[in-house]
Amino acid sequence: MRRRLLIALAVAACTLTGVAAYVGARPAAAGWQEIAWPFPRDGWPAGRAFRCDVGLCGETVELYVRPKVGFCNCDSGVADDDEVDRVADIDLISARFVADRPGSVVQLADMSGRMRNYSLHMPDGSRHAALGLAVSRRCDLVVAAARGGSGARLQQLALDFLGKEDVRRWMTAALDGRWH
């Protein structure tokens, strides 16, 4: 009986401290609102999704970011644009996308990788600008996809958001297993 009580207490305390750690790691960025992860479950655990106020972004912009732990290219990292096409979660928004141009190197939270602008072809016939980004740390990735606005503006908005101190801290925490 006493053992059960101890375990129950411990589980409750672990839950509380876990929740506290999660809340403490949430990024807070002016103009960005966290929303529910909008995609069905796939091979990777769900990430975090954000929507940018029209006041800040000019039009609706959404950004989705998540860690992908267990990436095979441990040594070479995100070495080319094909890798961005494969891993950056653009296909979650629409399986039909076309790269606008060759991608470029990006550095985020002490991780390096690549990003690339796309045109999305949505099932309803509409087209949207999108950005795919992937950075790696050893055998793990952080990927982000954003949509809305125009290509250059979208890239700047996404990089500004992902570059914020608390977002960068969250990325590191997520790769360290301190989230989810």
């Binding site: 053992r3 101890l6 375990i7 207490l9 411990a10 589980v11 409750a12 305390a13 672990c14 509380l16 401290t17 506290a20 479950r41 796939d42 091979g43 990777w44 732990v69 267990g70 095979c72 290219n73 441990c74 040594d75 070479s76 094909d82 096409d85 494969r86 653009i90 296909d91 399986a95 039909r96 996308f97 076309v98 790269a99 590191t172 790769l175 360290d176 297993g177 301190r178």
Partner: protein, 481 residues
């Protein structure tokens, strides 16, 4: 702060209450192997090189094991070969296993420089020259990968003095090939530089190994050069049933989003070769999509299996079965369980999963032992001694598992062997709060069998080659006594 302190203290209580047994199950150097109905016959440390694929070949009067290696480790990128006294990047080990109790290390052929997945020569297949339509009858050919950049063919007729015959290079990755010795057709898992995927298939005619002839590139629509949109899961490896069976079973994905693709071999070889979406689709008979949680590492066909339960049925007494093995990638259970699946592919355009198998985690506290826990690969020998009766599954820290598969609707474990670790066994780490926490455990990576019934397992964590045999009920189940 106090709440946090209490939380940490209580977490320890939970760990001690539930985890005490798990800690006790950690492997320690000097402890005996864990086994049921399997027995260790012989061992070789393979110069403490991380091992991937073993292939056992009956070569004249001898039995030779060819073992592919991953690249080196952070600590030892290129182990010293005691036979040469030189540091050599991991490549291929050649071991005489004629006497399985006394395996003799014959030769190490260095591979590509690089660590872990980035180097070495992970895969190896063997064909006798006399079996190949245009081979040198006195030669024995070894097809191996050379890191990610090439495939090579060596003449290993004298296994102590291999001679390089051919190299197919300029690739960005390679993996688990299949080579039909009767025809010479090879399905090479390659990374053609202009394809959008890391791994796809290059079909070659290697009937004359000295003069490879490329037949075509093959992959899934969306992977080909110039495609746009989502990129389908990359290939892991194919297995062909040759001219007679006229099927190639491709496994895509490793630990995620996998599927089985059933392909008409004849159409693949003779169909239009330009990698357009239509041309890539035309040889495909069907696909079996797996959960996003699992990949298809090995797709092992067993056609025409009699199913005892169906013996009195007017139709469907025998079934074409495919065993699909996932690959665990992450250490200490940081991913969905990777396991073994059996699919009934009798009706080819409606393949269906019928059963599965995994090692019960609680039977060895495997999630706490360190390293990977989950399936990786099966034996691929189709020699009659075990074919359609027993399957052997490499299960990383749970060693090798022997399955009675005579009723593939209800596969049953009948034996296992988890080798002891040694001073040479490499550690495996996970990141906890930003720091590495490492444990040492066996990491049985691959398994193969020979026509005599010996079972060969090799360790990814540098513990070497273990040669095993079945005992007890497992031996009876295999019909060996």
């Amino acid at each position: 702060m106090m709440l946090r302190g209490l939380g940490v203290a209580c977490c320890w209580i939970v760990l001690l209450a539930y985890g005490g047994g798990a800690v006790a199950q950690s492997q320690i150097v000097g402890a005996p192997p864990e086994a049921s109905n399997m027995r260790l016959v012989g061992h070789n440390d393979l110069q403490a090189r991380s091992a991937y694929q073993p292939t056992i070949h009956h070569q004249g009067e001898r039995w030779i094991a060819y073992i592919g290696h991953h690249g080196g480790t952070d600590d030892i990128p290129a182990p010293v070969n005691p036979q040469t006294g030189k540091a050599e990047p991991n490549g291929t080990s050649i071991v005489d296993v004629t006497d399985p109790a006394q395996p003799k290390y014959l030769r190490h052929i260095p591979g590509q420089e690089g660590k872990y997945e980035a180097g070495g020569a992970q895969m190896v297949r063997i064909c006798d020259g006399k079996a190949l339509p245009k081979g040198d009858r006195n030669a024995v050919y070894m097809l191996r990968t050379f890191g990610g950049e090439a495939h090579e063919i060596w003449n290993v007729a004298d296994p102590q003095n291999p001679v390089l015959i051919t190299r197919i290079g300029g690739l960005k990755d390679t993996h688990k090939n299949w080579w039909e010795c009767e025809t010479g057709i090879a399905f090479l898992v390659s990374g053609a530089p202009d394809w959008r995927t890391r791994r796809m298939t290059q079909v070659y005619d290697l009937s004359d190994p000295a003069h490879p002839i490329k037949i075509r590139d093959f992959g899934l629509p969306g992977q080909e050069p110039g495609a746009t949109g989502a990129v389908p899961t990359e290939l892991h490896g194919p297995i062909s049933t040759g001219v007679e069976g006229n099927r190639v079973y491709f496994g895509y994905g490793t630990n995620k989003g996998g599927f089985l693709q059933i392909v008409d071999r004849d159409k693949l070889l003779k169909g239009p070769k330009e990698p357009t979406p239509d041309n890539l689709s035309s040889p495909e008979i069907s696909r079996l999509a797996m959960s996003a949680f699992n990949g298809a590492h090995t797709t092992f066909p067993m056609k025409g299996m009699p199913i005892a339960e169906f013996a009195k049925d007017k139709d469907g007494k025998t079934r074409d079965i495919l065993m699909i093995v996932d690959e665990a990638i992450l250490n200490e259970c940081n991913e969905p369980r990777q396991m073994v699946w059996f699919a009934d592919v009798t009706v080819e355009n409606r393949p269906m999963m019928i059963s599965s198998y995994t090692v019960p985690e609680a039977s060895g506290a495997f999630c706490e032992r360190g390293g990977r826990f989950g399936a990786h690969s099966s034996n691929e020998s189709m020699a009659p001694i075990y074919y359609k009766k027993m399957a052997f599954i490499a299960f990383f820290n749970a060693g090798v598992r022997a399955l009675d598969i005579r009723d593939p609707y209800h596969p049953r474990e009948v034996g296992y062997f988890i080798p002891s670790i040694t001073e040479k066994t490499d550690k495996r780490c996970v990141t906890i709060d930003g720091k590495d926490r490492c444990k040492t455990a066996i990491q049985t990576n691959n398994v193969e069998t020979d026509e005599r019934g010996y079972i060969y397992i090799v360790d990814r964590a540098n513990t070497g080659l273990h040669i095993l045999e079945l005992t007890g009920d497992a031996r009876k189940a295999a019909g060996l006594e």
